[in-house]
Amino acid sequence: MSFLEIQDRAKRKWSELERGSKPRILVGTATCGRSAGAMEVLEAFEEELRKRNIDAVVMQVGCVGLCFLEPIVDIIKPGKPRICYGEVTPEIVSELVRDYLVEDNPRPDLALGTVGEGMLEGIPRFFDLPMLKSQVRIVLRNCGSLDPEDIDQYIVCGGYSGIARALEISPEEVIEEIKKSGLRGRGGAGFPTWLKWQFCNKAPGEEKYLVCNADEGDPGAFMNRSVLEGDPHAVLEGMLIAAYATGATHGYIYCRAEYPLALKRLDIAMRKMKEYGLLGENILGTGFNFDLKIKEGAGAFVCGEETALMASIEGKRGMPRPRPPFPAQAGIWGKPTNINNVETIATVAAIMQKGAGWYAQYGTEKSKGTKTFALAGKVKRTGLIEVPLGITLREIVYDIGGGIADDREFKAVQTGGPSGGCLSAEQLDLPVDYETLAQAGSIMGSGGMIVADENTCIVDFTRFFLTFTQAESCGKCVPCRVGTRQMLDILDRITRGEGREEDIDKLYQLAETVRDGSLCALGGTAPNPVLTTLRYFLDEYEAHIKQKRCPALVCKELISYYIDPDKCQGCMICARNCPVEAIRGGKRMVHIIDQEKCIKCGNCLDVCPPRFGAVRKVSGEKFEVPDEPTPVVSAK
């Protein structure tokens, strides 16, 4: 079947559905939706529709990115605009079915917004909502709108027209198109995609490999998961285009085992592609052959590094090796290999569908297009976002993220995961692009963006990253293996209040040694969290080292709990909840914490009734309390 025939068939099927009289219900059932109860919501809809004998189409879709409002449901009644509802529960399901499907009340009180054409009174437009307004959705264009298990829906939305167009021109012309788009590697390093492709295209040899790196290992990053779960065909179409341009005959998707739903959806999508003649031999009747396999990662962060990833695909320990030879010269099984990240590949499909000029209108001079970020941590609106490059960190944190949760103070934004850096409030107006973030000491990275507030201790936060990189260092290069351990030991002792004056210099020395003496990017970037926090938050290190004080009140060895004698009402709740019986005082007696016995679990602070608020957590200050329990003065 030709592509036009495939497209026609898909369009006919779709218009039947659109013209039909059945309402459509779209439930977001990506992993994030599921953990918020989307499957229960899905069941509730099916149950409610059966009970009321309503004939409707219930579809599972991917994640639209508003994770903080999950579970998210869209309802499309024939002749009405599509309405999106958030924080849906099984109870809300029965209300929506009764009020909107049976009656005609769209329940504006529950609606987030209308999607697409048409408006309804009292309901804003979905993409005008503050968290969506400054977003530009290219990679995430279909996430939350399409059934990822239905290839025809993807085709109706322009899917596979990118590969169809690519197959009409030469591989070199495809590379030229990607060059014009300005696309750079979205895995984090920002290497021009077209140039990488050209290396592989020009490498001699009949047998070449293409790898999609879906080993999204950065803790705090879930961009690739969402795309794989919500729009797997975009990634697969991008792989076909990349394979055609580079001359690859075989491909692998290297996806981490922690993403079972992504793996399942890829598998379903690939079967459909084969059925449609979009994978295997003689693709779309053009003589182009490409064979694709899924490889499940086995849990090693370093396998995100391309030479380690290739070793892992070959069934070996995933340890990096020196370059050159570069993968384009000698990669998997010694054959020329091209490796791209999921987001890069999904973007390629959009560029070939809509043209390089269209894509290049977004972004900055040197960083074209859009980038997805997993916005998490202490912002009000967490989720998956896609923004044009050049947007400022402030716009992301405040306009899209809604600012800091519980109206606390912003402290830091961390980009690039364990390889990236922590930027402070002073850097909030920096534009997000490859060069600016690198100058600030961080990296664009794959898209993790974690916001920390005043309750996050920067030294402890840094220690967290080092714990991760230290554990994940493969051990091949001594500076990385030993150096990360040494840095971690120093950070450990600073957080324990045993920091020494010379520790800061030592951290600098070690950071430089690890950075310069490691073969791969894991070691090369592992010191970034240390270097950026020393640069922007030196005062917090000094408070720990010189004053033995943790300003964020996090480091256990540096904090103490006291009971304020002026506020304690002698209710005994704290004493009863203390696991080590460190609190003395009877009924109507001011309680006292025995500092020797206290294990600083914080239970007393949690259980003290808010109307008393008598438990104080302090660091570096002494609080005056009586030696023995004294009677509560009731006038207070």
């Binding site: 950065d218 803790p219 849990g299 070996k316 941590g377 916001v451 967290f464 990253f465």
Partner: protein
């Protein structure tokens, strides 16, 4: 074990780079990599068992002792960490009386730490068997664990 394993191994016959998928299939069958199975795989692939152990121990997915009936995974990714994942881990360790990486003596619960599930926006999360629980607090985590007892 030989006959039990042959069904797992046969589909991989004649393919390149199959060691990791084979070990994943073996672990899917037994829940861990029993020593006899590793030797069986060594014979099948005609490679030293030491090399197989070299690969298996490199990856955190593989385990060499039987798992508990329920596997409790606590996410300690960045987002979960910032939102108190470490306290969740502490609470579960206290509740089960074991440390991360251990199994309760009655083999009911195994406890693992995971670097990230990708549910960062709903942090902190734990996963018990295949169910994800989001927006945890130490109290909620203890309750959920108890419901599996």
């Amino acid at each position: 074990m030989g006959s039990e394993l042959s069904g797992v191994l046969v589909p991989f016959q004649g393919e390149k780079g199959t060691l990791i998928p084979i070990l994943q299939a073996v672990q899917a069958k037994f829940g861990y990599l029993p020593e006899e199975a590793v030797f069986e795989v060594a014979r099948f692939l005609d490679m030293p068992a030491s090399e197989i152990y070299g690969v298996a121990t490199f990856y955190s997915q593989f385990r060499f002792t039987p798992p508990g009936k329920h596997t409790v995974k606590v996410c300690l990714g960045t987002a979960c960490y910032v939102r108190g994942g470490a306290q969740i881990m502490e609470a579960i360790e206290t509740e089960l009386g074991i440390k991360a990486g251990e199994t309760t003596p009655d083999m009911q619960f195994g406890l693992e730490r995971v670097a990230c599930f990708g549910c960062c926006a709903l942090a902190p999360v734990i996963v018990i068997d295949d169910t994800v629980y989001s927006k945890m607090t130490p109290g909620k985590a203890k309750e959920i664990i108890s419901s599996y007892k």
